[in-house]
Subunit: 337 residues, 4 copies
């Protein structure tokens, strides 16, 4: 590997939030459970969107599937009802069932009416395949790990090779968890849009860092490996957006992905979820007609730009925050920086 | 309840297959694991579409979501790749995580390259909420139950209050598993399209049996209960259909549902999956371009009609095959017949 | 044809509006231009959703395509922006270009900023093929005819073989324009949902009238003809619904179609559009964030049922309102009644 | 404007076809009708995908809408049937009705059974808004212009400010028609994928040319204008792809757009259509089941990369091929080069 000095570039034109993290959106916190021992290099990452119970106070949400080679859980209901009613969990591909069960069990514990006197609960889980570094066939993530991630959420969460990101690879380098945020001004007030990515995608020769074809420089020295990855993008904002607007915002994550070098490879499960924290939807709503605030659609370009920039920035954050990891069968991924 | 004599009517114009079951499609078999003790009235039902390994020999498939208040697993990838690569499992809502894990574990056991030297596997699981009769909060379905369902598949499978259908309710009566099939003639040969439903939907006053508003007759005597159900329709055919054609065929299941009285209620997860067994897609395919047979689109009305009729017939089969069940807290559902 | 006396049945459980017409929704009016001379049996039908300019005061809208063998214009933008910004025009298949141009020209005349200082305009036009009775290859509908339909809108509009419905056929009988409405109570107030259909679909043996297989009775005497039709369903309501909710409501039109005997035939362009008149969206909106009312989703079943019932009722209205028509090459369609 | 010397860069890793044009796909030809007089700066561009009648020999096709602020015609049927049955026409926004009518009239003239003894025809028309340079409110494109474009198709067609591209603007510079192609090797044979774009999108400060933020350099001197554009991407290939695969290929056009600086702005109608010329679908097919070749999905990355690269390259081609144009009210757009 050559010795080009690498500083993480500033991405885009918009102002970043104070943390340049998804937690710049008030109330959004993230937690990890990291399993990092020998062949086991995996984990779970949880995102909570407010401090309350997500089943009782649901949030407007929408997903977009850029490439559906993926095993996410929960999107059918998210897109029918336009609502998220659990925290979001990220983990490895073969652990989505366990994570979904953990989320369901927790929701039932906190809401004993679920499935009896009221509807059931829709857990939302995303995944990437960390089978290169991690013994994924061992199904090592437990329900307890998922609950630990849920219970350790904080605004000042770690990035890089942690939680669900522990065993992930991006552009041939060590990937994992990255985050970023942008400020959006509306009606004279400051709002935020933040991104969190689980980056496990891309071939090294394709890596582009703020326009520079860094991957080609590095790939001469490193071995190019075939892509078998995925990338999950979770966007949160305190701007009041309805489901359809959130779907449009989520659709701009692909711009950020493309600018880091992705062409949405066949084997890559590339999915974005966008959530608005502005106007919780009460499960116990009594009124037949309710009042909501919603963005004037003609102002939505600011959100689109923020989604594109924060996604690109979050992918680079995952790469620049990662550390070297050695895992299964001595497989190793080096940090980019 | 009054004493109107009830014979199961003949539905539609097309000829039924020999069994009038999804297993009239050559190679399709179904198995159940039934848990029926006191408060535990639930189970799992598995559908296999051929006698081989579904990961190595995938099948063309497509889904349609009529109402997405449901927690199915695996549809994102089915609709991206147009392929099914595991058997299908049906179970109760809170057990989808367990069922997905069981399918994944089984696939890994049979294909050790999964997640390491080749892609991961996409389990497909559907669900309905059996919480009225069953202690759904107990998460009683185990991975072993799911494997037992997979390992007991047979063409001559039971219908009614069995497997995933054990705790289900349809139109206020005991619901569960139903099936039917229709014959389709193409190029002088006989093909089949079959349906299997997990029927857990509909309010009693809405029930229509072959045009007769039976629900209104019965609901006068019985208590009308609010809907909190779902219905899953799995269609299989040996006609060679590509993904898009299968999506169109799956879209006709709604015709059969509507004719039994459904209006696709808000709380009902109403989903159809269609699978063609005609042309397996080899995971290990070496050729870059492969030969496929596909239906001349102008002949597709026969499949549409068969999908509509066999879905309607299968819902009635679930109702007419069911037995009375008493479960959680003494809750009971009476058989229609 | 035999002599069974035919009275139009009462459909469903809900109360109909005063006119049992889409114009029971306050502000909704309909107009026709009918061309009925010899080989020319065609026309245009226009629906206006309020008394103002639709470009300046847009309406929340959503469409669902049940079977896309159709040439509608404008749905891409309706479903991206969730908005309707012109009246809706129905006409014959080969006249959609002319109708779209007429709507665009009218919008430009009334809003000179269009395409220059502000965005362009998105005309919405639906169609069915009236080529059996009408000389469709003659492209007889002119821009003037479309404007005449727009300018003759009234709450007390004609039904049956008028406007776009002039040359249409449904279930082998004379089809055309039908309408119906249902009352929905919310928060103690009365709202309406109304349907207008352009019925040009179905084979005679399939016709079902409120559960009675009337088509089979009649088809013995009449010649069964192959289907090459379509059906357009336009739903309007004064209940405040956001785009996603309107999409869900539009999705229930299929229930009404199925109950009249349709199985969504391959050659039939079956499309529904739902529009809420409750909360106009101002083109000149200055605020970045706006207040909106929206239905509590848990009350949406009332709308679903109203959509299913009013669609079924509107199809029957088209059949029962029609008169005999003789057109191209002596082709004839007899009224059902 | 400063004097940075500008050479058109080589985009991506794949080999370009001999013409680096969509016409490298055998049989694909393009024609223009250009209206360039004073306030009238507009036109029509036609793409034919083989030398025969497109209604009698249809082609597999699929579209993807990245942002649906657009008035395209015909996509509902393309995506239901997976087929294209007319040449594709591009024109200005207010002329889509005229273009659709012209295509329909031409199809009827060549196939007198249309709408009478066989189905109607589904014209496919795309558009962008050229209202800055062109008197779009004048509806200047006539049916004769559209037919002239159809009748002048040739492999060696002009690019830049011609045909539908005459009045278009991209990234603040003169936009219009651009094209590119890439070679794909399969089973030892050479295939092509080509792109043609109608580029009318992007704000100047956002322009990126092969990683270089050229727009920021130029925008310091030039006035930044608000976006009100669109971009249409038509992809053609002689690789045998089914509808679903074509949809996946079309979905990669967004990668190319993003790399030139687009973030899929709210007001931009960004749509891709992909067409395979490999296996025409006969309107008069007699067999019930037909044989088709189709790409082994595991080889599709080559197509994805080709789609991304040729789209990016085609956008740059539009910019580099354009000449200065002065139009309505003295509005002017300068060429980039």
């Amino acid at each position: 590997m050559n010795a080009i000095p690498l500083a993480r570039p500033r991405i885009g034109d918009l102002e970043a939030g104070a943390r340049n993290a998804i937690s710049d959106v008030p109330g959004v916190v993230v937690g990890h459970a990291t399993l990092a021992q020998g062949e086991v290099q995996t984990g779970a990452t949880a995102i909570r969107f407010h401090g309350g119970d997500h089943f009782r106070d649901k949030l407007a949400a929408a997903s977009v599937v850029f490439n559906g080679f993926g095993k996410s859980v929960g999107l059918v209901q998210v897109d029918e009802l336009g609502q998220l009613e659990t925290p979001v969990v990220l983990t490895n591909t073969l652990s989505v069932g366990t994570a979904a069960t953990a989320l369901a069990r927790r929701a039932v514990a906190e809401n004993p009416a679920i499935g009896r006197r009221t509807s059931t609960v829709n857990p939302v889980v995303f995944e990437c395949n960390d089978g290169y570094l991690n013994d994924i066939q061992g199904f090592h993530v437990s329900e307890a790990d998922v609950l630990a991630a849920l219970d350790s959420c904080t605004p000042g969460f770690a990035r890089g090779a942690v939680g669900a990101g522990r065993g992930m690879t991006a552009y041939g380098f060590k990937g994992g968890i990255g985050t970023a945020s942008r400020v959006v001004a509306l009606d004279g007030a400051r709002f935020h849009l933040g991104a969190l990515v689980l980056a496990n995608f891309g071939r090294m020769p394709d890596l582009v860092v703020d326009g520079r074809k860094l991957g080609r420089e590095r790939a001469a020295a490193d071995e190019a490996t075939p892509e078998r990855g995925s990338v999950i993008v979770v966007l949160a904002t305190d701007v009041p957006l309805e489901h359809r607007q959130l779907r449009r915002v989520a659709a701009r994550a692909v711009v950020g992905l493309a600018r880091t070098g992705s062409f949405l490879g066949h084997g890559s499960g590339d999915i974005a979820l966008a959530v608005s924290t502005a106007e919780p939807i009460r499960h116990a709503e009594r009124a037949d007609v309710v009042a909501r605030r919603v963005l004037n659609e003609q102002r939505i370009d600011a959100l689109f730009r923020a989604a594109a920039e924060s996604t690109e920035d979050a992918v680079l954050d995952a790469l620049f925050s990662a550390e070297d990891v050695v895992g299964r069968d001595g497989h190793a991924r080096a940090a980019l920086a």
